[in-house]
């Protein structure tokens, strides 16, 4: 099951681009559930400009995860804009996630 979420609105026009991400989870495993919740919180707080998030359940799409080079779950990949980034874990450490995504807490309104 792949889920796509699109931003609801664009607050500031022309200042930022849309961030595309992919989150690999393992079914309803505690860490995976936590990761989804943590990421959604981060997105709603820091990516109001818009983002694309795809959630891939490795248990359902193992071949795809293999091809994508996923090792552990949960695992977040930033696809665009460059530079890309990889974050593993349940994303409980917000500041390290923000740093990896190229966002700074100061940017948030």
């Amino acid at each position: 099951m792949a889920t796509k979420r699109k931003p609801k609105s664009r607050a500031r026009v022309g200042t930022t681009t849309v961030v595309t991400m992919r989150l690999y989870v393992a079914g309803r495993a505690p860490n995976s559930v936590k990761a989804i919740a943590n990421l959604e919180a981060i997105c709603s707080q820091y990516l109001q400009d818009g983002y694309k998030l795809e959630i891939v359940d490795v248990c359902e799409h193992p071949r795809r995860a293999l091809d994508d080079g996923v090792l552990v779950t949960p695992s977040l990949t930033k696809l665009s804009p460059t530079p890309g980034a990889n974050v593993i874990g349940n994303l409980s450490d917000t500041s390290s996630v923000l740093a990896a995504l190229g966002l700074s807490p100061a940017l948030s309104a």
Partner: protein, 600 residues
């Protein structure tokens, strides 16, 4: 024990690893469909053990396998094993699946994670290729990313559950160091598996020595203790002494040592496929002897391998040319291959590997290793001993006739026993030594032992000249062995004596001839004398006879001339005498007859 082992084997199916020696130690291999933990320090050969097992299973039994590489990159693994001829890239296309599982340094960690996703992926892959084997190589790398001991424990349990519910034989490798051994998951890892193999690499006097030990095998017996392991031409080998059977063909074919003198001392030469050890102090011409052997082998058209240590092939050839041994042409023709190894800080195991590779590549019938003792130079004596003996066994396994030299300080041949201890393994042992006397150093050769052949107990002198080395019989005089100038003097003396003897003898001959001539001349003289005497005697006898005849005739003549009836007168006198006797004694017939005969 064998009955018990059989029973265990029946109840516990095992899968052979194909690693020489290990299957003997583990009495059959690793437990099938169970998990084996391979642990050890870095560079001990854990990954190689796992990969070689998997490779063997994939190529020999066509069993598919999955490798999850946490530590080393797949391309690096491929490169590392390329020299063993394992063809991993080819196998990776069909039977083996490699999963690159190194977390790149750019990975950011935020919070806890687990192996749930990875195991789900492995499930899919296992189903796809019907994998029977799985290797988790370097699980410690992954576990160390988990921040809390609790998380490590949790994921170890997860892994165990996953493995327990699948029909798959697993090998988990893990590094051990101070940090991991104190962790609870480490203890649990050991507990959860059915077999534990510990790898060890330590420096023995500066040289690395690898060992392996099976520390646990649930439901099976195994050979306890540590066993040295090395990397040969086709991968890892474990030295399992006393288990691998020694089976070599024995031949009666003789191969020349290059010296007719030595061949005759050995009862016709070296046995084909035998190994000969030449020990000696520095400069006793060990290399010359070995070189001569190599040259004669090449002349017979036999492929030969000359392994030298710390001295280049070209230098050796130049030096041998000075004593009349010419190897250059044979190198050019490809018959002779020379390999020179460096011994400084090189593991003896690597030499074994190199030499084995050369044997497989060049396929020699004759071989020289000069000097084998050099591999012990780097210090690790016990491993060098093991390697040296294995090398000799390897050479013998390939039925190669080999001469191996060993440097021994001093003249005591027993010094070798303290060094490499290969004299017991070698079939023939030739000792070269110096005899210092009268300000000279001369090379002496003795055969200490030679299996299966009569050999001379005599000492020979090895003489080097431009025409080549030669073995000369020594003089033994007054309980002392004479060599060099003394031998030469003795030889000259002997020659003079022989000349004198010859002169004396001809002189005597002449004298005797003269005496003989003298005697025969004298005999002729005497003969003549004798004949003269005989003639004189004959003459005398003739005169005498003549005289007697004439005297007889004269008597008759006289008688005739004296009286006309000489006969009648005599008869008258006789009758007269008879008549007188009859008157004295009558009737005596005898007396009568007597008288009558006398009258006649």
């Amino acid at each position: 024990m064998t009955a018990a082992t059989k029973a265990v084997r029946q109840s516990l199916p095992k899968l052979a690893t194909g690693i020489p020696g290990f299957d003997e130690l583990s009495l059959g291999g690793l437990p099938a469909n169970r998990t084996t933990l391979v642990m050890g320090g870095p560079g001990t050969g854990k990954s190689m053990f796992a990969l070689q097992t998997l490779m063997g299973g994939a190529s020999k039994r066509k069993q598919a396998g999955i490798v999850v590489a946490f530590e080393e990159d797949i391309s690096a693994i491929m490169a590392n094993t390329a020299s063993f001829g394992w063809r991993l890239p080819a196998l990776a296309k069909r039977n083996l699946f490699f999963m690159n599982a190194q977390l790149s340094p750019t990975f950011v960690q935020s919070g806890d994670f687990d192996l749930g996703g990875m195991l789900a992926m492995l499930d899919a892959k296992q189903e796809e290729i019907d994998a029977r084997w799985v290797v988790f190589d370097g699980i410690d790398v992954l576990l160390s990313l988990l921040r809390t001991p609790r998380a490590r424990m949790r994921e170890t349990y997860r892994l165990r559950d996953w493995l327990a519910h699948r029909k798959i034989t697993a090998i988990i490798t893990t590094k051990i160091d101070g940090e991991t051994t104190s962790d609870v998951s480490y203890g649990f890892l050991q507990f959860m598996v059915d077999c534990v193999v510990r790898f060890d690499r330590r420096l023995e006097q500066g040289v690395p020595l690898r060992r392996l030990e099976i520390t646990k095998y649930r439901g099976s017996a195994f050979a306890p203790g540590e066993y040295p392991l090395s990397f040969g031409a086709s991968g890892m080998e474990v030295a399992a002494p006393g288990i691998v059977e020694v089976a070599q063909p024995a031949t009666r074919e003789r191969v020349s040592s290059g010296f007719p003198g030595l061949d005759s001392m050995l009862g016709g030469g070296l046995f084909r496929g035998s190994s000969t050890l030449i020990t000696g102090a520095p400069g006793t011409s060990k290399t010359t002897l070995a070189g001569k052997f190599a040259e004669s082998a090449c002349r017979r058209g036999e492929r030969t391998l000359f392994v030298s240590f710390d001295e280049g092939g070209e230098r050796i050839r130049r030096n041998l040319t000075s004593v009349g041994i010419h190897l250059d042409a044979h190198v050019k023709s490809g018959l002779l291959q020379m390999y020179s190894g460096r011994t400084d800080a090189v593991n003896p195991e690597e030499h074994l590997m190199q030499i084995t590779a050369l044997i497989l590549e060049h396929k020699p019938r004759c071989m020289v290793i000069d000097p084998l003792s050099a591999i012990a130079r780097t210090g690790a004596l016990s491993s060098a001993r093991a390697i040296a003996n294995r090398l000799i066994y390897k050479v013998r396994d390939h039925h190669i006739t080999a001469i191996v030299t060993a440097l021994v300080e001093g003249d005591d041949p027993l010094a070798e026993a303290a060094e490499l201890q290969i004299s017991t393994t070698a079939d023939t042992w030739i000792q070269l030594s110096y005899l210092v006397r009268s300000g000279e150093r001369n090379r002496a050769l003795t055969i200490v032992k030679s299996r299966g052949t009569h050999h001379s107990n005599q000492v020979r002198e090895l003489v080097l000249s431009d025409d080549g080395p030669a073995l000369v019989e020594v003089y033994s005089s007054g309980g002392e062995v004479l060599m060099g100038t003394l031998r030469w003097e003795k030889e000259a003396e002997e020659k003079t004596r022989a000349l004198n003897r010859a002169a004396e003898s001809s002189q005597k001959h002449r004298e005797l001839q003269f005496a003989e001539a003298d005697i025969s001349a004298r005999i002729t003289g005497l003969q003549l004398d004798l004949e003269r005497q005989r003639a004189a005697l004959a003459l005398y006898s003739h005169d005498d006879a003549a005289r007697r005849v004439s005297s007889g005739e004269r008597t008759n003549e006289l008688r005739r001339l004296r009286g006309s009836n000489g006969e009648g007168a005599a008869a008258v006198s006789h009758k007269r005498r008879t008549a007188r006797r009859k008157s004295i004694s009558t009737g005596n017939g005898n007396g009568n007859g007597q008288e009558r005969r006398r009258g006649n």
